[in-house]
């Protein structure tokens, strides 16, 4: 029987141990105080370890986790968002926004036609809102294409 709480607890246990390991390497300078820069991280990691152990030993009943196709959907959304973060600087605002909001719209609403309209509409509408009305410094199109 796999439980989400146990996996998360075990994961955080590893993270906390890594955190302690990393904290051991923090250098102190000559002008330090009685506590130094390592003690508070140790205390935090200690709390995490304690809580992880509680989560592993006494897990709550599991929530319903997404399976198969839904996991794929969430993966697509994640990739799209990460790609957006990388694309907005070189490609400008309009094209990545239209594509990514179209993808998200399709994932939520499930209708490709409507999603294309939503993507295009959001790209143009938000660009007008941010650039023209609020005056933020956004570039609309890829560098060298004007705008």
């Amino acid at each position: 029987m796999i439980k989400g709480d146990r996996i998360f607890g075990a994961f955080m246990l590893v993270v906390a141990l890594g955190y302690i390991l990393s904290a051991r390497g923090i250098e102190t300078s000559f002008m330090s105080d009685p506590v130094g820069p390592r003690v508070f991280p140790y205390m935090v990691a200690g709390v995490v370890i304690l809580c992880s152990l509680v989560m592993i030993l006494r897990p709550d009943p599991d929530e319903e986790w997404p399976a198969g196709p839904m996991l794929l959907q969430l993966g697509i959304a994640l990739v799209a968002l990460a790609a957006y973060a990388e694309a907005i600087t070189p490609l400008g605002f309009l094209i990545p926004t239209a594509v990514v909001s179209g993808i998200l719209s399709w994932q939520i609403g499930g209708n490709p036609g409507r999603s294309v309209v939503a993507g295009l509409g959001l790209a143009v509408g938000l660009f007008v809102l941010f650039r023209v009305i609020l005056g933020l410094g956004l570039r609309g199109l890829p560098a060298g294409w004007g705008f």
Binding site: E27, T28, V35, C51, M55, L81, E86, I108, F130, L134
Partner: protein, 508 residues
């Protein structure tokens, strides 16, 4: 007398044309944000901080705009609670219990007016309470040294986690994750990098805005994809809006009692608006003669929690402004706003920058009047906006989140980190781990460590110094009680179930 002259000074700022326009825009946007399911006061304010910052608003203008949004969102939450049975934000959950049944009986308009007036009463009285209590608490706060502040931060984490979550280990875990993230970056005392792994972007630490927007707004997208945007259709028709004077008279007592309970709950660090509305509802039910009609459309069951939730929103500003310790998730976001604007809350804020405090308070009073006018006669406009489908709304919100962070930092690294926080927020909410303590940890982590280390410098490393004053001991006892007591009280205070389907809750 001093309060009045300060208030007059505040009004001289708040009533200028420009500030008034900002307040009106903030109220309007805030009501929409509060009303839309999946967007609450926390993520609404979080989304707008980077944008208002990039617009180059000065400190007072940004503060007026965003606190209007905050109050507006508290008002707006009731609209979808009543009409759709979906709380627009968590504090509005209790309003669904009687609000939705009222709407089903064809009394949607009455429910909206009663709850609007209740919101006004709660928020107005709480703002007056803020005026009276905050300067007093600020004077007490002068006696706080590093040991007391360290204990105070413990209290905030313990009560927020203890009351807000159903599992103490998970709440403590969330707080520790936040504190751990706060450690990333240069150590203030020694100037040495910690946990940066040589990554230059991490030298300045993790920007709390990135974390807030990721945990609140981006995580929401994953939830909506999973649920395919269910729960977003409008169910109830709204007739002509008339003011039901008789009903208002009947519920006056409920509103005042709800306000009192809510304000006290809001002032306690960590308790917040959700607890305020919950206690107000339960309190009203327990003293009512007609207990059996609660949950079936009793207007008192709408008035009490709505007054309680708005009063708590005002009350939560008291510890936030005077001590720098937020009382709820949303005030944590407002604290983030203050820190972004380079305003350090605390007792010195009242002494050194009274213009900031009092123009904030004055604009809260103005915002309340604006919101009453907006929310009673113009409620139909907001009802129309509720019919925006999720497949337009959520992609739009995501893009706003990205643009906000992008225009603030201009780095892909920060946006990727925001997406990462979105995933973390999704997983944590799936596991029922509260996300607000993470935010609080990131916000307060460095101050907490700093106070610990300064206390140790004063005492030459003697840890008993942390318990050396009566105030500190009292705070530690309150912290331990706040963490442990809910374990026993939880059996007594069961939340009543929402009428029908489970809403997509938005943590506050």
């Amino acid at each position: 007398m001093e309060t009045l002259s300060n208030l007059a000074m505040g009004f001289s700022t708040a009533l200028t044309f420009y500030t008034l326009i900002l307040a009106i825009i903030g109220c309007f946007v805030g009501t929409i944000i509060g009303a839309l399911p999946g967007l609450g006061p926390s993520n609404g304010v979080a989304l707008l901080i980077p944008i208002s910052f990039s617009m180059g608003l000065d400190a007072i203008s940004a503060l007026v705009l965003l606190t209007s949004v905050y109050y507006g969102a508290m008002y707006g939450g009731r609209i979808s609670s009543i009409l759709l049975n979906i709380p627009g934000d968590e504090p509005a959950m209790m309003t669904t219990l009687d609000g939705y049944p009222m709407a089903r009986q064809g009394k949607a308009a009455e429910a909206l007016v009663v709850s609007g007036v209740a919101s006004f009463v709660g928020a107005l009285l709480a703002t007056i309470g803020l005026m009276i209590f905050a300067p007093y608490l600020a004077r007490v706060a002068y006696q706080f040294g590093p040991a007391e502040y360290f204990a105070l931060y413990m209290l905030a984490f313990c009560t927020l986690g203890g009351i807000g979550s159903s599992n103490q280990a998970k709440a403590a875990m969330a707080a520790a994750i936040g504190l751990g993230i706060a450690m990333i970056g240069l150590d203030k005392t020694t100037g040495m990098p910690r946990f940066t792994f040589g990554e230059l972007h991490l030298m300045d630490g993790v920007d709390f805005l990135v974390a807030i927007v990721g945990l609140f707004a981006v995580a929401e997208v994953f939830f909506f994809i999973e649920s395919h945007g269910k729960d977003s259709a409008i169910g109830v028709k709204l007739g002509k809006i008339l003011v039901p004077w008789k009903m208002l008279r009947q519920t006056t007592g409920a509103m005042l009692r709800g306000t009192g309970i809510g304000f006290v709950a809001g002032v306690l660090p960590g308790a917040g608006a959700s607890l305020g509305s919950f206690l107000a509802y339960m309190g009203e039910k327990s003293i009512a003669k007609d207990k059996s009609t609660f949950g079936k459309g009793n207007p008192k069951g709408v008035a009490a929690p709505e007054a309680g939730n708005n009063a708590a929103a005002g009350g939560a500003l008291v510890p936030m402004l005077t001590l720098g310790v937020p009382g709820s998730g949303t005030t944590a976001v407002l604290l983030a706003l203050l820190l972004t604007l380079n305003i350090t809350p605390g007792p010195l804020l009242f002494a050194e920058r009274p213009e900031v405090v009092w123009s904030l308070i004055a604009s809260l009073l103005v915002a309340n009047v604006v919101l009453l006018l907006m929310n009673v006669p113009m409620v139909k406009i907001f009802v129309k906006i509720l019919s925006v489908p999720a497949w337009v709304l959520l992609p739009g919100v995501t893009m706003i989140a990205f643009v906000g962070i992008y225009s603030l930092t201009g780095s892909s690294f920060d946006m990727l980190m925001m997406v990462g926080f979105g995933v973390l927020g999704y997983v944590m909410r799936k596991l029922n781990i509260p996300t607000v303590p993470v935010i609080l940890g990131i916000l307060l982590g460095n101050a907490m460590e700093d106070n610990l280390r300064r206390a140790m410098v004063l005492s030459n490393g003697d840890f008993w110094y942390l318990l050396s004053s009566p105030i500190a001991v009292g705070l530690w006892i309150a912290a331990i009680l706040g963490f442990v007591a809910p374990i026993f009280l939880r059996r007594l205070l069961k939340k009543p179930p929402v009428p029908t389907h489970d809403p997509s809750l938005n943590e506050d």
